[in-house]
Each structure stands twice: as structure tokens, then as C-alpha cells.
Amino acid sequence: MHIAIMITVVLLPILGGILIPMLPFHNRKQMLIYIEALVLVNSALIIAMLLDEPEEAFVLFRFTGDLRVSFHLDGLGRIFAAMAAVLWPLAVLYSFEYMKHEGHEATFFMFYVITYGITLGVAMADNILTMYFFFEMMSLVTLPLIMHTQTREAVLASRSYLYYMIGGAAFAFIGMIFILAYGTTSTFVPGGVLDPAKIGDKTNMMLFVYVLCFLGFSVKTAVWPFSSWLPRAGVAPTPVTALLHAVAVVNTGAFAAMRVTYYSFGTELLRGTWAQNVVMVLVIFTIVYGCSRALKETHLKRRLAWSTVSNLSYILFGVVLMTPLGLAGALCHMLFHSFMKICSFFCAGAVMYKTGRSYVHELDGLGRRMPKVFVIFTISGMALMGVPGLAGFVSKWQLAQAAVASENPLAWVGVGALLISALLTAIYMLTISVRAFFPGKDFDYSKVADAEDPNWLMLLPLTVFVLVIVLFGLHPQPFIRALQEVASVMTVS
């Protein structure tokens, strides 16, 4: 197959998305069929591309010399692309039902689909310039989605989102300039591209720039002290919070952090330095901080958002271990967490959609009226807290093993943080399930008489996710092997 397929999967959703408000659909159904078809075709193309494994890079255009916008599919990108290809069609299906009560569907789906293309752009970016370009695009395109409801709260949330993103990008930009100046090439190369001859005695400066750059990209993964935008962005419609703020956008940040750490700066330069310690301390702190905030939060979606903050830092923790095992663990948690968190968010969305309740204390007794949703929610909660046999246990095992093997005492502290966070996760997830299923003996069930399970458009994605969570939990070996293969490239260089 021709390598042009790489640009196709990026451009098809972008162009197809822009067309959504313009095409003369006769009714809502036609539009929905068009959208689902568009997304499915794109996913099929991605899968074809993944099977085809194109080796060369596709250069879209050159600015000057080495600066170019080009795509190349390597192991890391392949995982991210595959994840997007599976999640998008299901999330779109769910949105069809959910967005009924939000309105402005054409605009919503336009941006929702465009983001698909941009995510792939990030996944397949061949060099730091391309990645930076799509990274910025991502911030801009998702902005209208946060503003969707047009309430004052939503406008404020999107404004803070924008400030955080622009600030982060500025830091990341500094990093990019230094990589261009001190590297041999701007392309991503496993093991890093910095030229020791050029750096000379400026190692400390490079480390400082790394910290800036890492934090800049990690603003998207909501690392402390840049985490407050994520829960505030929870005002967006649930499909946005679920797919973008738990998976696509935030994983872009983690993905970019992986790229700069392992493919641009290189772990040789960073491992064992103060720079590694600084970022690791921040990440470990965020793991516990996110969970503690989740525990305090009574708004269901914001609670899940804080949980995302903490879980994203699990991924970053794997990244900053700066070992191949750490990268494998990070990838593993990126993949598994996406399914677990999108699953819990969709459950929360289903509850909000069917009952209009969004606070934890309003969920009493709903388990009996919405059994399917709450059983799935409980399973996803147990997966998040790391019950063996479900996905979370496996990815935490990988991360903890990498941390133990790294022989870094700070990483051992990190293992402790993972487990503290697991306990807090159990508390903030299971209290919801207990409320829903065991409201107490005097509970008046007529209060929840209006609630019922949603229709198949919502239940199908949920069922698929929960099956995937169980599959990951019981038979993770093929996935882990693939991830470790990707990460083992690091040791060669």
C-alpha cells in the first residue's frame, strides 16, 4: 500500500468533519450515518495501515533544510493510532444518543471528528516540529467543545483551558528550539538526537530545558501544578470529557512527553540527574494529589476527572523512570487506562443523561434501576483500583516492576504512591457503587422511579469496553509483549 495512506487518515476526518455543517442532510439520521461511516472508514484505513507497516516517512512539505512536516509510523505511534481507531467509532456511537439533549449537534460532531485526524497527526509525527504543530492544533480544535454549552461556567473553563495550553506550548516551544539547536536532527530517533559535542559543558542548561519542555507538554496531562484545567473542563458534554479529556488530548501530552524524553533528549543524558528527580517528584506528588482531590470532590464527573489527573501521572511516572521497562509500563497504562476511564465516564454520562443527576450523593439506590450501567461502573472502578483479573492490576504491575527494577530509591517511593493512590481510588470509586446498590434499609425507592438503563447506543460501547477491560486483565500477554518490543528499541541505541 502506498505511504500516502498516512496523510489520508489525518486529512479524511479533518475535511470530512468540516463538511458536516455544510452538507445538506435531510434529517438527523442521515447526518449520523454519514458521521459514523466517516469514522468507521477512517478506522478501517488505520487498521489497514497498521497491518501494512509502511517503513518510509511521508514528507508533506519542507520549510527549510531539516525543518519539515512529515509522518512516519513507528512502534510508539502505532499503539496510539490503534487506540484511537478502536475508541473513536464507539465514542461517536455513544454521542449520538447523548448529544440529543445538548443540541448544536452539527458543530459538535464537526470538531469531534476533526480531533480524530489531529490525534493521528500527533501519533504519526515524524519530528518534533510536526508534533508541536498538531499538539497546538489539538488545543485549538477542542476549545469549542468545552465551550459547547455556552454557559458562563463553560466559557470560563474554556478560557482557563486555553491559557494553560498556550502557556504549556510556550514551554514546549523552548524545548523544541534547543533540540533543533543542539541536536543532530529534528527527527525522532530512539535514544535521543542530542549531539554531545555541541552541548559541551552546558549539560545543566540542557537539563533545565528538559524540565521546562517536559512540563510544557505535560500541561496537557495535567501534572501538578498545572492540573486544575482538567476538572474544570468537565463542564463539556460527556463524550468530550470521556474521549478527549480522559484519552485523546491528555494522552497526547503523555505521548509527547515520551517522545521528548526517549526520542529527543535521550535517557542517557537524563537518567540519574537532578532533572529526573525534579520531574519524578512532581509526578509522584500528582499521583497522590489527584486521588486526594477526587476523594474530596462530590461532583461525579469532576471526581473522575481528578482520578484522571492521578492516573495520567502513573503514565508519566513510567516515562520518567527512563528505562525501557518504564516506557513499556507507561504505554501499558496509557492503553489500559484509556479503556477503564472512558468506560467509567460513559457510565457517569449515562446516569446524567437518564436522570439528570450529577452529584455523588444523588446516586443512592440507582443501582436497582440502572443495574447494567452500575455493574459496568463497578467493574471499571475495580479495574481502576487494580483488582487482579482486570486491566488496572496488570498495568500497575508493569509500572511497579519497572520502578523496582530501576534501583532508584525515589522510584520505590513512587511504588508506595501508586498503592496509596490505589487505596484512595478504591475509596472514591467503591463508595459510589455501595451508595447505588446498598442505599440503606429505609431508602424510598420511589425517589429513583424515573431512572432506567439507557438504550443500545450507549450500552454497546460500555459492553465492549468492559469486555476489553476483562480481556486485558486476564490475557494481557500479547499486548505486553508488543509494548515491550516497542520499548526495547531504546536499549539498542
Binding site: 436497582r368 434501576r369 511497579a400 516492576q401 523496582v404 490505589a422 463508595t431 455501595v434 434499609k441 486476564l474
Partner: protein, 531 residues
Amino acid sequence: MSDLWILSPVLLTLGVGIFLLVWSFAEHILAAKAFRPAEPAAGSKPEKEAGLKTVHGLAVGTLLAAAVLTLGAAWSGDRSVTLFYLMKDIPIYFHIDDISRWFVTVVTVIWVLVGIYSTVYMQHEGEEKRFFGFYLLVYGVLVCLDFSGNLVTMYLFYELMTLASFPLVLHNGSREAIMAALKYLFYSLCGAYMGLFGIYFLYRYCSSLTFMPGGTLSPEAVSGQAGILPVAVLLMLIGFGAKAGMFPLHAWLPTAHPVAPSPASAALSGIIVKSGVLAIIRVVYYIVGPDFLRGTWVQYTWMALTLVTVFMGSLLAYREPVLKKRLAYSTVSQVSYILFGLAVLSPAGFTGALLHVAFHAVVKCGLFLTAGIFLFCCGKTRVDQLAGIGRRMPAVLWCYTLFALALIGIPPTSGFVSKWYLAQGALHADIGVWSYVGPAVLLVSALLTAGYLLPITMKGFFPGQEESSGSAEDTEQKQRVQADTAGAAKRQEPKAAMLVPLLILAALALGMGLLPGVFTDFAGGIAALVI
């Protein structure tokens, strides 16, 4: 793979358990749809009774069948099954060895007896389908836990046990019960995660996570890791000790055990706490190895914690006026006897610990069932309400007295045998001053045990004269009341389904003390193997 049948009891109980849960749940959903509370929806009264008979028959039948299969599997040789590989070198692996046999037999005996008792008792608690559903689930999980052949398999079922058993605690649905259940859940999970922290490290420093008598720690990997590994092991001990009610993570136990329905408290206090003991045995004697710990600060810290728990538990029990809560504190103290026996790392201590696992399970289960009968038949929860109870139900109080003697450790009851071995183990172990301090603490605690258990017997049989003191007419009235109760007493023994399990337990508590040889030989055999 031909040994796959050893998991058949698990499949059976899990299947029937889930069926009962779905049945109960479906009933509630239908009731909720009809905008009616759950109770009337179950139909007219005779119909409901018939439904309950089915539930009881199903639950007890399943339990008996599963018990036969389990014991058959356990006592037919060292069998092992690898179910599948969770990760590259981590299989879900079951292996039956002597420890499995010992624990699973105790679990099975207690579970069946308590199951029969519950068929009557649970009638006044309601929601029986849900209760028996979770009750069967926990049994299946416990069998898996006892059969586990490596650390990760054990951890899997350890967590599942917590999740399956906490609905038993919140059964009555009061706010107090729900809060207690959550406390139980979070303490247990906290402990489990501390255990998991250790597992992460052991995975790196052990040649395998499969249980081997004497441990699998690989010496070359350990060298240079003197700092972190003992810390990890101590965290595991404290973590798994949470389930066994060991200080400092003991606080859930006196909260959670009393609020559960009495059969559930009996099962929790008799059996579930022993899973913590099992986990600690597996970690210390089958993974880390006693030689690694002997003489280290970890051993001394652990021993100090167990002794603190023994003393503190007894003291709190002594001061506690509510019977079930008093028994829960007593569990805190008694299970740490077992842990102390394990902590001295000597063969006699280990033997004593294993014996006490079985004896304490029988005795504590019996005590909770007695407390349940007092609650069920007379609605009495506090110790001071129990004066004169011996006239109403003498058989029950005689059983109680026997259990009390066994728990104190008076010969010829079973408790004496295990405590003898525990003291022997401590005296002969090379642990310096602790070999005297330990038995001394055990002795003081035994005195306290007598102090908190025996007054009930005395008051029960001899309510004394205080009641008749006071003004004349008051005395007359009291005497009339007393005569009433005394007259009714002869016919107020509980139903056979409640009494028979109690009598069997009492016979066991006495019998195991009269004929201890077979048990001490078996436990001693295991001890010789691992140390």
C-alpha cells in the same frame, strides 16, 4: 490438567451463589418497577415460605456437596492445576499441600455448620437470598485462596474475598452497618496494598513466586538489598496482618464483626481473619523463608506488635459491655496468639499457631453462634442483660461455658493444647528476653480472657440476690417475673438447626483437646518441613 476437577466445588458454589444473587436482584428490580417495597412483592406468605425453603435447601445442599468435593480434593494427594498465565511467568496456579489441607478443612467444617445455623437465624434478618448468595461466593473464594499455589494467585483471591465478604457485613442495611462495612473494606484494601507493595519487591528478589517450604528468596539477588527488602517484608506482615486484626490495622475488626448478622460474624471471626494468617504463613515460611527473618529487627518488631495486640485486645474485651463486640475484641487478641507463634520462628511455635488456627476457629465460631442465639431468641445484646439466661437455655449456656474454658486454655479443652505449644515455642526459641516476655503476656491475657468470658456463665446460672434486693413489692414483682422466665425456660432452647451446629462445635472443642495427638502430629509434620 486432569486435576482440574479439584476446582469443581468452587465452580459449584460460585455458580449457585451468583444464581441466588441474580434472583434476589431481579426480584428487587421487579419490585422497584412496580413502585412497591420489596417485601410484599415476594407474594403471599405461604408462597414466600415455600420460596425460602427452596433457598435454604439450595444453599445447604450446595454447601454439603461442595464440602464433600472440597474435602475429597484436599485429602486425595498433592494435586496441582495451572489455570492460565496471567503474565509471562505468573500463572494462576493451584497446588494442594498440607497447609491447604489444614485450612480448607477448618473452613469447610465451619462453613457448613454456620450455613445450617443461618437457615433459622437469617429468618429475622431478611434478604436471605442475598445473604446465602454472598455466603456461597465467599466459600468458593476461600477454597481457591487455600488452594493457591503462588503469591499472585493468593493475592487475587485475597482481594476477591474482601470484595465478596463485605456485603455480609452491611447486610442489615442500617447506616451503622454500611459505615462498618466500608471501614472493613478500606482497612482490608489498605492491608492488601501493603502486601502488594511487598509482592512487587519479592517478585524481583525471589527465584519464583511459587510457594516452596523454606522460601524462594534467591541469595545472589538479595545481596546488597539489605535495606529495602526487610522494610518490604515488614509492610507485608502489617498489611496481611490487617485481615488478622493485628495492631496497628486492627480497628476495623471490632466495628465490623458485631454489626454483621451473627452467622456472618461467626464466619468472619472464625475464618476470614485466618486468611490473614494463611497469607502471612505463605509469605514468611514459603516465600521469604524463616532464615531470612530470624534475629532481624523485622522479627522483633513483628513479635512486639503481636504481643501488644494480644494484650490490648484482651483488655478492651474486658472493658466492653456489648457481648458481640467483646467477642470481636477477643478475636483481635486471640488471632495475635497465632501470629506470635508464627513470629517466634520455631517449630513448636509454628505447630501451636496451626493448632490455634483450628481451635480458635471452632471456639470463636461457637461463641458468636451462642451470642446469636441470645440475640435471636431473647433480643439480648449486652452482657448485663444475660443474668439468669442459664435457666432459660441451659444447653446453650453449657456450650458457651465450654467454649469459654477452651478459649482461656484450661485442660482438657483444645485451647490448652495450642497454648502449650505456643508457650513451648517461645521458651525454646532463640529470641532473647522475648522468650519470657511472650509467655508472660499470653498468661496475663488468659487471665483477662477468663475475666471477660466467665462472668456471663456465672451470672447466667446464678443471677444472685441483687435482683431481689430492694423494696418488698418490687421484690415480689421481680420474683414473679423470674418465676415466669424460669417456667418458660425449660422449653426455650432454640430450634434444632441452631442448637445442633453448636453442640457439634462444642464436641469438637472438647474432643480435639482430649485426642490432640493426630492434630499435633499433622501440624508438627508441616512445621518440620518448613523450618
